[in-house]
Subunit: 684 residues, 2 copies
């Protein structure tokens, strides 16, 4: 994105003048709503209604066309029907308008004709140097400037709990997006920007997010996305380092397309999205409520130094729910230090609990100085990174003092404090605002508070330094078969099975002897990916059977490779597959049943040794390698080294490839790549 286009996007929230093309005086008409909103919420810039016949719209001077409007216009909100949009864009171009929002539906979402219309407006905008938001787009809101370039009915409600904050919200869905905005307003979560990108003929959600992330005033970003396929845009966005949470909808496995290799099949769309978001430190929210929950955590200024959480509750039940949630998160339950323990032992009644999760009991809550002592002790504990305070029924009078204590502790310790307040707002009508004012995000349940704390840790820990490695590329030749691929991998220092091509009956016998008297034979046929299925692999070849096996494999139409036969190993799959979000590296159960087992973990490449070891630990086969039940453990460090190296050598390989190392034999000491396959981009 160039500087010029960045400034065009900024008109979505900074325009000093906005034209409404298709402005209307009729109450409730779509061409009336934006003007009413701009007036109602107090937009300070110039509103320019465009209407072929009206002299005035809602008391403002109206113009029959953009051509005759005398003032410079930064932003046009085009409210004419689909078939008139193309001409309107030409008029915007003539008037020198840099940024245009197209509200109308009836484009790519409505079938082939609409798609053609969309290509037409895209091309006209492009040649005129105009940036387009939409079509099929409900518009954009800049909360600080009250720039209401939208016709969502949301802002026509009788009482809108309007507020301005520092969070940017971008949605590919219009109605659902502004529905989420209304839920944010209702819970008092301050947004600074709300932008719907509609059909994305030109401007994409990632591009808007990037523009917002560059603003100093934007503290965090939330997004609802249905498409996420631009690896470069995602990387540029991630580098800006703002806390982010996305809903990625349509993410079920059913959506993954067929792939040629095991690795390709296992890198389902959903796993790739998870890998990419994880890589870039973006939290993935499962639902709209959760997205806003994460926004609450991001909007407070404190960041955790580590994953260790102390839970301080007034109820054993809350502590148990919080612990359950922590165990299924990336957080850990902090072990409290002796000094902390001493304070808690002194003040917490016998029927409470002084170990984490701490139950100070409702008794302690009635004496705020005692509660404050306990909370201070926990916050001062160097083994605690985040504090989750759980209250249940907490009524009126208690609230002020407790909230003030929580706020003081958060400010003093610099540690995030999150509250789970499992009770109706009616119990303490002032608590919500008081907590928000103190910078303490609050949630209805301990589980929600823990998930938000987990998101805060995720964006902070994972997002601090996206790995960008540049390694020498060793792209495979265009018709790489197993044999040539193994040569290439060996050249990169990777441990492949010893072996060679054999060319005659006697050569086959020699090869078996060279390999120790027992060998595996393989048909080396370019494009034959699943050799075992095709009878292209034979085990246990002896010098006696060598020539017979050679002849049989030769008949499959390619070369024949004999290699060492190994036993006593565990079979693991290591693979890398190109995806729209960049290459992903996979580790899982190997062998021919790989897909059936579905045991795989996926990350965006490249990964380092540390990350590779973490991947292995997540898989069932990784647990098996650490198992000592009747079998020695597998050589996990060597396997991790392989995963890391493989994830790095694919840098620069052409988009669309798949590299399958399956199986990789893992021995108690050492590993060996038993089979390797490369799928070329064009082969798919």
């Amino acid at each position: 994105m160039t500087a010029a286009t960045t400034s065009a996007l900024e008109y979505l929230w900074e325009a000093r003048s906005i034209a409404i093309v298709g402005a209307s005086n009729r109450d409730g008409a779509l061409g009336s709503l934006p003007i009413k909103y701009l007036q109602r919420y107090g937009y300070a810039g110039t509103i320019v209604p465009i209407n072929p016949s009206a002299k005035e719209v809602h008391g403002l001077p109206s113009y029959p066309s953009l051509a005759v409007a005398p003032m410079p216009i930064d932003l046009a909100l085009v409210m004419v029907s689909a078939t008139h949009v193309a001409d309107t864009i030409d008029e915007c171009a003539a008037a020198g308008i840099p940024m245009v929002i197209i509200g109308a539906s009836g484009f790519a979402e409505a079938g082939p004709e609409g798609a053609a219309l969309q290509r037409e407006i895209e091309s006209r905008a492009k040649s005129a140097g105009i940036r387009l938001l939409g079509p099929n787009c409900i518009g954009a809101v800049g909360f600080a400037t009250k720039l209401m370039a939208t016709f969502t009915p949301l802002f026509s409600a009788r009482e809108v709990p309007w507020q301005t904050g520092n969070i940017g919200f971008v949605s590919q869905s219009g109605a659902l997006g502004f529905g989420a905005v209304s839920l944010a307003l209702e819970r008092g979560l301050g947004l600074g920007w709300a932008i719907n990108t509609g059909n994305e003929a030109d401007v994409t959600a990632l591009e808007v997010l990037e523009a917002l992330a560059q603003l100093q005033s934007c503290h965090a970003l939330l997004a609802y996305l249905e498409q996420l396929s631009d690896a470069n845009a995602l990387r540029r966005l991630a580098v800006l380092g703002k806390p982010m949470a996305f809903i990625k909808a349509g993410g079920s496995d059913a959506g993954a397309s067929a792939a040629a290799s095991h690795t390709g099949a296992l890198a389902t769309a959903d796993r790739v999205v998870n890998a990419a978001l994880r890589k870039y430190g973006i939290a993935r929210a499962q639902d709209v409520d959760e997205l806003l929950d994460f926004g609450e955590a991001f909007s407070q200024p404190r960041r955790p130094a580590g994953p260790r959480v102390a839970v301080v509750s007034t109820s054993g039940g809350s502590g148990i729910l919080a612990t359950d949630a922590i165990e299924s998160s990336t957080l850990t339950l902090a072990t409290l230090g002796e000094a902390t323990q001493a304070v808690l032992d002194e003040f917490v009644p016998a029927f409470g609990s002084t170990t984490n999760p701490v139950d100070v009991t409702a008794t302690v809550m009635s004496d705020v100085s005692v509660f404050s002592r306990c909370l201070d002790a926990v916050a001062d504990d160097p083994g605690v990174d985040t504090i989750i305070a759980c209250f249940c029924v907490l009524v009126d009078d208690d609230v002020d003092a407790i909230v003030s204590t929580l706020g003081t502790v958060a400010a003093r310790s610099g540690k995030p404090v999150l509250v789970a307040r499992t009770g109706g707002d009616f119990l303490a009508p002032l608590a919500k605002d008081a907590l928000r004012h103190a910078g303490i995000p609050s949630y209805t349940t301990p589980t929600r508070a823990v998930r938000a704390a987990d998101a805060l840790w995720t964006v902070w820990a994972e997002g601090r330094s996206p790995t960008v490695l540049t390694l020498q590329s060793v792209t495979p030749p265009s018709h790489a078969d197993e044999h040539s691929l193994k040569l290439l991998l060996a050249a990169a220092g990777l441990p492949v099975t010893r072996g060679r091509l054999v060319h005659s009956d006697s050569d086959a016998q020699d090869a078996v002897l060279e390999l120790g008297g027992l060998a595996v034979g393989k048909a080396v046929v370019p494009g034959l990916l699943h050799k075992t299925d095709a009878g292209g692999v034979e085990l246990g070849i002896t010098p006696e059977t060598a020539s017979r096996v050679y002849q049989r494999l030769k008949q499959l139409g390619g070369e024949v490779r004999f290699e060492e036969m190994v036993t006593g190993h565990t079979e693991v799959l290591v693979g890398v597959a190109s995806t729209p979000l960049g290459p992903v590296v996979s580790v899982g159960t190997g062998g021919i049943h790989t897909e059936a087992m579905g045991d795989v973990t996926v990350r965006l490449a490249p990964v380092d040794m540390h990350e590779a070891a973490a991947m292995i630990a997540e898989t069932a086969v990784g647990r098996l390698l650490t198992s000592t039940r009747g079998q020695p453990a597998g050589d996990i460090p060597s396997l991790a080294q392989l995963v890391a190296t493989v994830s790095q050598i694919v840098d620069g390989w052409p988009a669309g490839f798949e590299l399958d190392l399956n199986p990789v034999a893992v021995f108690p000491t050492g590993i060996r790549i038993l089979d390797a396959a490369y799928v070329e981009p064009r082969a798919k």
Copy 2:
């Protein structure tokens, strides 16, 4: 539970008189709150304050002791400190009070001394025939009778959105439980009963649930549980057929205790709870919000005839989120019939979607007659069991007509209609009440609506007829080893490996020849569960090696069994383990790496063939058996038969046993139990 105890529990909501022992005039005192509540909410029975010195408490005549109170008392709420509780129980006994609630903390939750105190009050109550709720219990509320036998601060809030409904709520946690009650009141979910069971010295949560389930006026039950270990009570409750949802907290795997066999280790506490709840058609909620969401669905009277859901939305985004949620539930996306399609094709604009999920677009919403036609068509479709209608921003004036349409369709079709309204309440302040009045549960997001619809289907489908089979018991002998166990299993018609004990070198050679020249030898040592680890298994025995192997295995201290050696199979684990919730049957990946793989699915025994096949389909090894990649499929019907039979033969076996069939060899045709182990109750 006898009729007598049932009637005692009913005093928790039907008492005509209630004594408050430890009544206080002091504002905010715990002994003051219940009396204030009984007065504030309008309890029509007799309130009897007991206070050693006061003549009057809150304007009511007070008595120095229960002994001098002249009226019959149905229920006593005892608010004295822990050390005075035992004597008070004696006084309750003397006064003929059948039901007593103990509020005080300081019992089993506070250490050994408290536990002794708790045993003491339990024993005194028992010998007097008094039922005890608590101790460490915040009390009980009967909403219809306004029987506020509680000191929770909840009811002291300035404005409580009081209402009475048909849902029973039972919680083992007091503070969290009444926190959840306040959230229910806030969202307008009508409760009829809210009861905290505290330490459960006597009355348990399951017992209270059973008593409530027997009430005609109770339509559904919600519970927060930390302990769930009474299989009989759960079965009695389930048979009553009321829709139920439980939170089971403390359910993480970390809590599972060590077990001797693979089956025991795999039947973690959490898996057993899931299996039990599933068996009895009880929905498991993951969080408090979700528990109340499920309550909303249960409180409407319609029940789905099947799992097929039609999604009707005004926004593509909502449809996608709903579809994602349906794919990870037990529901399916309905395929709409031709007649339905024709109506939708006629009315839905081109930029909407006429296939499920249907997007009628916001345009259709502006003409209620069109919306009504579309909704009627979907509801009349015989392929649709439940309708989920998703709206986003839906403002004031639209609401009445749409809500009335939804209500009419639900009433006419008899199909459940659930609404996802992703928008703040401020957009349409009247919508919430209107929807509730129309019997339409509503949720903030499509995901939450789908999960609630899933719970509704779960309780309806699974709960209709809890399987109760009575089969002939074949309890293993008290020292069953592999050999005797295989004889027992063979007698039950199960396919075990052919083989026999061998008693000498020559006998061993004979045995190998009988078994076809190749055999497996096994040490048969009672109590030796993991033979492979101990070197107690040897494969590939020929007549030549027979005597050497026999001698070696003999040295392990038991008998020696030779049996047929099988190949070309897939290894599966089938097991049954006794748990506090009854025996559970497990199926998963077999072999020595079973626990490492963690591939297992668990149900409460017994299961039938159909259920067994469903279990197999859920596992990775089950997918592997259906895989045809290079291998013939496994004999799944025979495996399912085995699972069902095994789950049935353990009926009547003593509590605490574990039966491990691991591995079971599954061939393309047929199966064979390769190894079997029985762990006796006392061995653990």
